[in-house]
Amino acid sequence: MTLIVRSETPSTHRTVVWLEGRLDAANYTALDEALRDITPLVDNGGTLVVDLSALEYISSAGLRSLAQLRKSMHDRDARTLLLNPQPQVKKVFEIVKAVPIAEVFATVAELDQYLDHMQRQVSGTG
């Protein structure tokens, strides 16, 4: 099975990327290429949400891609949050911890709540 990458940018603050299928050593370069076009759409300080609900499998090579994505976004103060992974994928995240497990959310509501919280912290400290 192959990997399908779709994206949507409702605002410059938030871009959503949907991954569908398998993400492994055979096709992570396709994801890297797609992300090269998508990440510039996210503002510095914005949020990139990766929706994993349709991702059935992720290998270590796929994890590396996501980790690299997170790192590159982090370098420009943007956040990368993962949304709704399937159980087997979630388990991989939990074991390998290639991205902080705190940045993996089961629902959009949870994710929004987290973002609200983060914003309050920023404004609170600022």
């Binding site: 290998s59 090579a61 590396r64 690299q68 074991i95 390998v96």
Partner: protein
């Protein structure tokens, strides 16, 4: 062989096609010309016949005039009849005899009633009477007919005893003073002049002229044997129906040996007809000759055109022949040859240049393919060396501690030449040994290099540490340095106190190990920290196990748990548990490794490995103490 040449085929095609065109147009031309020739001949023949008819008419008119004048004179001068006819005969040399016959009075005829003047063949004139005729003259047909000819009419031709020429008479009724008709004046002429006139006609070659009367009797004919005979049935029929011209063939019953054309012109003032016959063969002889000459010339022209086509085509196709030979060379793989220098701008020129370019490009492609093959060969040999170097980085597959307490067996099986999985073990001081099984993200050369870095760093760092937690922490910080590509390695690290069997485990995002103790296999639940190389501040909790004698710990990478063929389900961690559970207590670590690998190989059934595989089994031997395993979890 010859027919394989395009030039020859073209020349033959031109010849054949033109020949067909020539024959068809020739046939049409022949038919058209035939009509024209026939019309022309008819015109010619009609002219000749018409001229003859006019001549004949003039001559006959003169004779008829004599007869009519004589008849008019005799109306009042009957008694002078013998003298009148004699004088008239004397001044008209073309006349053979003249008769002035009267209807006898009261049935008693006198000699003077039927006076006749005659010219002998030698020119001597004599007088006589028609009473001397064997037939009674006033009942004879010529007389009866003459009585009815007020304006004169020609009698039928006849022969006279003592003369061999044909004679013909012109009769005019002599008007009476009291009655309307008193007698008949008859003038006879010889038709010898007619025959002569026909002979003098300027006729076309092979034509025969004739004069025929109303009944179809030939009065004169160039073929003298026909004179005095009747024409054939088709001829007489055509004459009566006034058909002109008419074609008569032997098959129709004509008196001819071949088809002839007959052209007829009526002679005015008479019931006669002048005509010409011409054999059709002769009419069309010129035409046939012309046609044959034309056809011969046409064929000669065609042969010439074909020859020219052959020569031109051969000259134009010559480069193609060479190209064909060269193309066969190309098919054999010979690309180094000279092509003719073609400067032409036509298709042959373009083809030759394109062929040359194609040959060069092909040679280029072959060269680059060879170079690529050499490159690949070099890569393969480099990879082979890299594999040997990588394998040199890991220790022996089998190791037994000096005191015999610890025995382990491991295997590393990269999916391709080199891989990212690793295992290693080494002594930490005299009382501890450290074992590690790891899996670098991704596969291939980058993973192999990262693996080499990891395994080298691990040995260096571990010599200063005793806790797996410290080892992983320090290793993580080292691997995070300059790791922009976010390569990472999951690693399970265990430190075993060889005398006590105390095993401390820490995991950086790695698979749970399997413990086979007391006949049952179970996962050892080690809380994992993040994989190494990603998060500088990561911490790694430890889990401590106390092994009993004969207990075996199996450490592995996801190449084992996630083994699968194309679209198969994954082999799965629980399958590893099942595999281990089937082993007897006291099995050697080697047996563990072989058992699990055997099951994995059987599961994928020969499919190429999807991921690298690393597998390590560690057995602790102690026969002195038998204790209940003591578990403890400590956070470093």
């Amino acid at each position: 062989m010859v027919l394989r040449s395009v030039a020859t085929r073209l020349a033959l095609g031109v010849l054949l096609g033109s020949a067909i065109v020539l024959i068809v147009t020739g046939g049409l031309m022949l038919s058209h010309t035939r009509e024209q020739m026939l019309a022309q001949t008819e015109q010619e023949a009609s002219a000749v016949s018409g001229w003859a008819a006019t001549r004949i008419q003039g001559r006959l008119d003169a004779v008829a005039r004599v007869a009519r004048v004589l008849a008019g004179v005799l109306k009042t001068r009957r008694d002078e009849a013998p003298a009148l006819i004699r004088d008239t005969l004397a001044v008209n040399p073309e006349i053979v005899d003249i008769t002035a016959a009267f209807i006898p009075h009261n049935g008693a005829a006198r000699e003077a009633d039927a006076a006749m003047a005659r010219r002998a063949p030698d020119g001597a004139l004599s007088m006589g009477s028609r009473l001397a005729d064997p037939e009674t003259y006033w009942t004879a047909p010529w007389f009866v007919r003459g009585l009815n000819c007020e304006h004169g009419c020609w009698q039928s031709p006849f022969h006279m005893a003592g003369r061999n020429d044909t004679l013909v008479g012109y009769s005019v009724a002599i008007p009476g003073s009291t009655t309307s008709v008193a007698g008949v004046a008859d003038v006879t002429i010889s038709l010898g002049w007619l025959q002569q006139l026909l002979g003098e006609l300027n006729k076309p070659d092979h034509a025969a002229a004739f004069v025929v009367d109303a009944d179809g009797m030939f009065l004169a004919h160039d073929w003298t044997s026909y004179v005095g005979t009747r024409g054939s049935k088709p001829f007489v029929a055509a004459l009566k129906e006034h058909r002109n011209p008419v074609r008569i063939t032997p098959e129709m019953g004509g008196r001819v040996s071949e088809p002839v054309w007959v052209y007829l012109v009526p002679i005015a003032g008479t019931t006669w007809t002048a005509g010409l016959t011409m054999p059709e063969r002769e009419v069309l002889a010129d035409l046939r000759r012309t046609y044959y000459v034309d056809i011969l010339l046409g064929l000669a022209a065609l042969a010439g055109v074909s020859l020219i086509a052959l020569v031109i085509t051969r000259r134009m196709m010559a480069p193609l022949g060479i190209l064909s030979d060269r193309a066969e060379d190309v098919a054999r793989g010979e690309l180094d040859f000279a092509l003719p220098d073609v400067r032409r701008k036509d298709e042959v020129g373009r083809l030759t240049r394109a062929f040359d370019q194609m040959r060069r490009q092909l040679a280029g492609h072959i060269d680059s393919a060879k170079q690529l093959a050499r490159e690949q060969e070099r890569m393969a040999s480099e990879l082979d060396i890299a594999r040997q170097i990588q394998l040199a980085l890991i220790p022996e597959a089998h190791w037994l501690a000096d005191d015999g307490r610890v025995e382990l067996h491991a295997v590393l099986r990269p999916a391709s030449a080199v891989g990212g999985d690793l295992y290693t073990y080494f002594a930490l001081g005299a009382k501890h040994i450290c074992v590690m099984v790891g899996d670098v993200s991704d596969k291939g050369i980058p993973a192999a290099l990262f693996m080499a870095r990891t395994i080298t760093l691990a040995r260096t760092i571990a010599t200063h540490a005793r806790s797996p937690s410290d080892i992983l922490g320090a290793l993580n910080r080292e691997l995070c340095k300059g790791n922009d590509t976010c390569m990472f390695v999951t690693l399970l690290c265990g430190v075993l106190e060889t005398e006590t069997g105390l095993l401390t485990l820490a995991s950086a995002g790695h698979e749970q190990p399997v413990l086979h103790a007391g006949g049952s296999a179970l996962f050892v639940d080690v809380e994992t920290g993040p994989a190494l190389g990603l998060d500088r501040d990561a911490r790694y909790p430890v889990r401590v196990l106390t092994l009993l004698g004969g207990d075996t710990v199996l450490m592995y990478t996801d190449g084992v748990s996630e083994a699968h063929a194309a679209s198969q389900k994954l082999f799965g961690s629980h399958a590893i548990l099942d595999s281990v559970a089937r082993l007897q207590d006291g099995a050697t670590p080697e047996a563990y490794v072989e058992q699990v690998l055997g099951d994995v190989d059987a599961y994928v059934a020969g499919a190429p490995a999807y991921d690298d595989i690393a597998l390590l089994a560690l057995t602790w031997h102690d026969s002195r103490v038998t204790e209940v395993p003591l578990d403890a979890v400590a956070h470093s």
